[in-house]
Symmetry: C2
DNA sequence: ACATACATATTACATTTGTCACATCAAATT
DNA sequence: AATTTGATGTGACAAATGTAATATGTATGT
């Protein structure tokens, strides 16, 4: 088995690589420290399995997943992440992810998952399956865009200039965002959206 | 060497434990999944080195460190963390930490650090030493308290009620906070303070 | 062709947030 | 005893934020 492992936290990347290599069935483990590097490596070589962390600099694991599917790279993809963000999970599912597991698992379980996806099976973390239908992101792309600006600390006026809208339009959008999220100020909206992985 | 490892993320805990155990000099690695568990285990057994993650449920690694020093437990303590928060670092230094390293290191380096502290040396991540003097928390305890409330999304009025002050007083405090942090709205202040580990 | 939805904008308004100057009182300092 | 300092409060104001009703042009569906 040839494996590509993309994970930004050196210690975990290093540890996982060493432990995976100890396994007889694993031929070689390539490493990437961010999404961009992962994509570069994927263009040079074929892997049986690609293991992606989500939150990485440059490009996220989800970005890499989308790139893999768009370019029809023939490989299994496993997402490993700390975060129980349903938004992340949803996006992964939409891109036909093979396995989605939380870092709350052990290495042995990860090994099992790897064999499992190579055998052609899917494997989703059950904790996430539960919530998936209840907490779907209610915001449109535009609204998400605006909420992201808010989360950076921009004022309405700044957002308006930034996105080439009138101040009033932005205020309207924000009003709708607050209504949808059932919050009554921008800070709460940002907090809620972050907790759910929507921004 | 007897080692206690406290880390909430199972995958990393598991991986680190396995790799540390592979080393001949390591006799046994005990595991804790949060700060509270770590303290319990520390009451039962003596360790040469305790390795603590900071952000854990129940009690943080810094809480455990403080407990160790207060109870005069004879052991070396290493903090490993993802976060370059100077506030964290400051608190660790004040409690006579033996080593403070970022998770951006490899396992081999961690092993070196362990030997190093057992030999009686200190080891601080150099990235953090640079900033420590430049970015000291300028806020008073009261101000931090208020900023925390803000970060939860409370309005001025709510904070006032919550802390038994007048609305105006809270506004004054916030005004001072914004001035100190050189920001012009509450969201930016929260963002900045979080990035620096002040709240 | 017509109705509907969508994105954008305007206006007016109420509320919240942030600034500033100053008041009060108690505790600490000189 | 007089002064300074710190914590708390007030009032007045400007600016930002949030709400709501409504308008307009474009695209979409039937």
């Amino acid at each position: 088995m040839d494996i590509l492992l993309a994970e930004d936290q050196s210690m975990l990347r290093d540890a996982l690589a060493k432990l995976l290599s100890l396994n007889d069935e694993v031929k070689h483990v390539s490493l990437a420290k961010d999404g961009e590097e992962a994509i570069q490596i994927l263009q040079l070589k074929i892997f049986d399995v690609v293991i992606l962390d989500i939150e990485m600099p440059k490009k996220t694991g989800l970005d890499v997943l989308e790139w893999i599917r768009k370019n029809k790279i023939n490989t299994k993809v496993i997402i490993i992440t700390t975060f129980k963000r349903c938004g992340y999970f949803e996006r992964a599912i939409n891109n036909n992810i093979d396995a989605y597991v939380l870092k709350e698992r052990s290495i042995d379980e990860l090994m099992k998952t790897i064999k499992n996806v190579i055998a052609g099976n899917k494997e989703y973390s059950p904790e996430l399956m539960e919530n998936i239908f209840t907490t779907k992101n209610p915001l449109t792309t535009q609204e998400v865009e605006i909420l992201k600006k808010i989360s950076l600390g921009l004022s309405n006026k700044e957002i308006a200039e930034n996105l080439h809208f009138s101040n009033g339009t932005i205020r309207n959008y924000i009003s709708i965002i607050l209504m949808k999220l059932n919050t009554n100020n921008r800070l709460l909206a940002v907090k809620l959206a972050k907790e759910n992985g929507w921004i």
